[in-house]
């Protein structure tokens, strides 16, 4: 009898140790993930420090990128990143809204799944494929037909006309924006679809019962109810667009200057890094590239955090655990 009790004691003690060890291992794994993010920020700051010390905070507002004379400023790349992402957002937001609305409210049930999967496949295509498609297929078509048409119509308008002027080369800021729009479209659309689906059926049915049309339900019931989620989805898309590298590098044209026209080539932070980092020698150039990477990381971090907070708010309203 006593031996069996001892046995049980021994087993339970052993299992207790195993329990503690397994708990520690799993916690360690979670902490590794945490520390990597910290490590990313620290290593970027350390490597960017020489450039930041040399040029000061004005590094981010200086539009000079002269490798030979070692004068660096980040404004050209930051401008390119922001402008191309904004173009992408302006195009992708209404399209995603339309797609999400179609998938949740209009689409016949048997098409819902295949079409939803098709949009998600658009997100699965690697960015380098978008880049090749943009450079070899889309840019020539864009330069031959769409850009002249834009120049002839929008280019004639006062004030914004200058945005659509210049030689229609195909590749450039606008082309990069459109390719980016196609890439972020599935992300925004799928977030919007998910949040549209949580709108309580009772709300929608009451509106329909009052005689509202589908559009009125979408505009006055669904959209106000899911506002935070929709904005969160858009910001998530913006975060993607800002950091996108390969597709942009192929089609933005990689010119180190700021031009008023959207037809003109430019460069983004990511494309500058992809093009120059491999050839940069340790020194100011190298450090300036790290400073650009730091800027990109901080911008996307802030935007993604805001997006996340907004989505959490919507979930709270739902009373659902994330």
């Amino acid at each position: 009898m006593t031996t069996s009790i001892k046995n049980i004691e021994r087993t339970s003690r052993k299992q207790h140790y195993q329990d503690v060890i397994f708990g520690l291992i799993s916690q360690l794994s979670a902490l590794i993930v945490l520390f990597v993010l910290l490590g990313i920020i620290v290593s970027l700051v350390i490597n960017a420090w020489p450039a930041l010390k040399e040029f000061g905070p004005s590094f981010f507002l200086n539009a000079q990128w002269d490798i030979n004379r070692e004068k660096f400023g980040g404004l050209i790349s930051i401008y390119g990143t922001i402008v191309s992402s904004l173009i992408a957002l302006i195009i992708a937001t209404p399209l995603s809204f339309g797609i999400a609305l179609f998938l949740t409210e209009i689409c016949p049930a048997f098409l819902k799944r295949p079409l939803g999967v098709a949009i998600e496949l658009l997100a699965a295509i690697p960015s380098i494929i978008y880049g090749m498609f943009g450079l070899f297929i889309f840019a020539p078509v864009f330069g031959d037909y769409i850009q002249p048409a834009l120049a002839a119509s929008l280019g004639k308008l006062p004030y914004i006309g200058i945005l659509f002027s210049g030689a229609p080369n195909g590749i450039g800021m606008l082309c990069a924006g459109i390719i980016l729009a196609m890439m972020i479209l599935p992300f925004i659309a799928s977030v919007m679809r998910d949040v549209f689906e949580i709108v309580p059926a009772v709300l929608k049915e009451s509106a329909y019962g009052l005689g509202c049309t589908k559009w009125e339900v979408a505009r006055h019931i669904i959209l106000p109810y899911t506002k935070a989620g929709v904005v969160g989805g858009i910001m998530l898309g913006l975060g993607r667009a800002l950091g996108e590298t390969m597709a942009v590098t192929f089609v933005i044209g990689n010119a180190a200057r700021i031009m008023p026209s959207l037809f003109a080539p430019g460069s983004s932070i990511a494309s500058t890094l992809a093009n120059q980092f491999g050839e940069a020698s340790p020194g100011l150039h190298f450090s300036a590239l790290f400073a650009l990477g730091l800027a990109l990381f901080i911008i996307t971090f802030v935007i993604l955090s805001l997006a996340k907070l907004m989505l959490i708010q919507l979930e709270k309203k739902q009373g659902k655990k994330s």
Binding site: I40, S96, L103, L121, P126, I137, G243, A270, L304
Partner: protein, 285 residues
């Protein structure tokens, strides 16, 4: 009286018109999305299949101007993705178990959750920069291992988040039943909860795989490229994405054609993994 009726009719007609326009726009948006998907895929298939041949799998990447294949790049990519999976799956699944089973409501878990969500969409090129600074600069040469680590950093958040979500779907009564039988927590986590959520977790790993197999940016500064066949992870490694990037930007026609072939291979494997993940998930849940 008839005036009011008239104006009501007019308002109704206007509302119906607005509705029709809005719904049409929504359908147009859907077709634009579909149009681009089909356009990209058809171009890729036409260009890719026309440059696909047996040599692509048996010969290494060529020097400028000469003919060649993609053998070293295919093998390199395969090795990078495989080692990345070996690192990221256990780490990601363990972290997911911690978030779901151990630290569910603790502050550490909340912060980790937030951070993984950010890392999920963090710019991959910045992760490349980080691994360059942390590994390549320290070892003073590019290497396959650095590429593996960079890819793993991108894959881990995907695995962590899907694992956690899938484990949370396991009914609490299952855990309680196991605890009532006297099972220790680690056995409950590993042998009851994880096993019940197996197909979901595998889906997460497959999705992470799909995500990293097309990644280019983080490999540019880590694994770099290698013109020759090599399975040594300590040296720069050829891999499909970087080869595609270099060849597509090159002026040689046969290089560009090889790039299209490589692009087709990558897209097929990524789409294949995605579909596989979906099948896995649907069978069980």
């Amino acid at each position: 009286m008839s005036d009011i009726l008239e104006s009501k009719k007019a308002i109704l007609a206007k509302r119906k018109r607005t509705n029709k326009i809005a719904l049409t726009m929504s359908m147009v948006a859907m077709s634009i999305g579909m149009f681009f998907l089909l356009w990209i895929l058809s171009v890729l298939f036409i260009k890719g299949f026309s440059s696909l041949n047996l040599e692509m799998f048996t010969v290494d990447t060529p020097a400028p101007g000469s003919a060649g294949g993609l053998r070293n790049a295919i093998v390199g990519s395969f090795m990078l993705v495989l080692t990345c999976t070996l690192i990221s799956s256990p780490l990601g699944i363990l972290a997911g178990i911690f978030l779901s089973e151990y630290g569910a409501k603790s502050r550490v878990a909340a912060i980790t959750r937030f951070v993984t969500d950010i890392m999920l969409s963090a710019p991959s090129i910045v992760i490349g920069l980080f691994v360059y600074a942390a590994m390549v600069a320290q070892m003073e040469h590019f290497s396959g291992w650095a590429g593996t680590v960079a890819l793993a950093l991108i894959a881990i958040p995907v695995v962590v988040r899907t694992t956690e979500n899938m484990l949370q779907l396991v009914p609490g009564s299952l855990r309680e039943a196991a605890f009532a039988l006297g099972a220790p927590k680690w056995k409950v986590s590993l042998m009851i909860v994880l096993r019940a959520a197996k197909s979901g977790v595998i889906t997460g790993v497959l999705l992470a795989l799909a995500r990293v197999s097309g990644e280019t940016a983080p490999l540019l500064f880590t694994a770099l490229n290698n013109q020759f066949f090599s399975t040594n992870m300590n040296t720069p490694m050829a891999n499909l994405p970087v080869v595609i990037f270099q060849f597509a930007m090159s002026p040689y026609d046969n290089w560009v054609s090889l790039a299209w072939g490589g692009a087709l291979l990558i897209t097929l494997s990524v789409l294949g993994l995605n579909i596989l993940a979906r099948v896995f998930f649907r069978e069980k849940v």
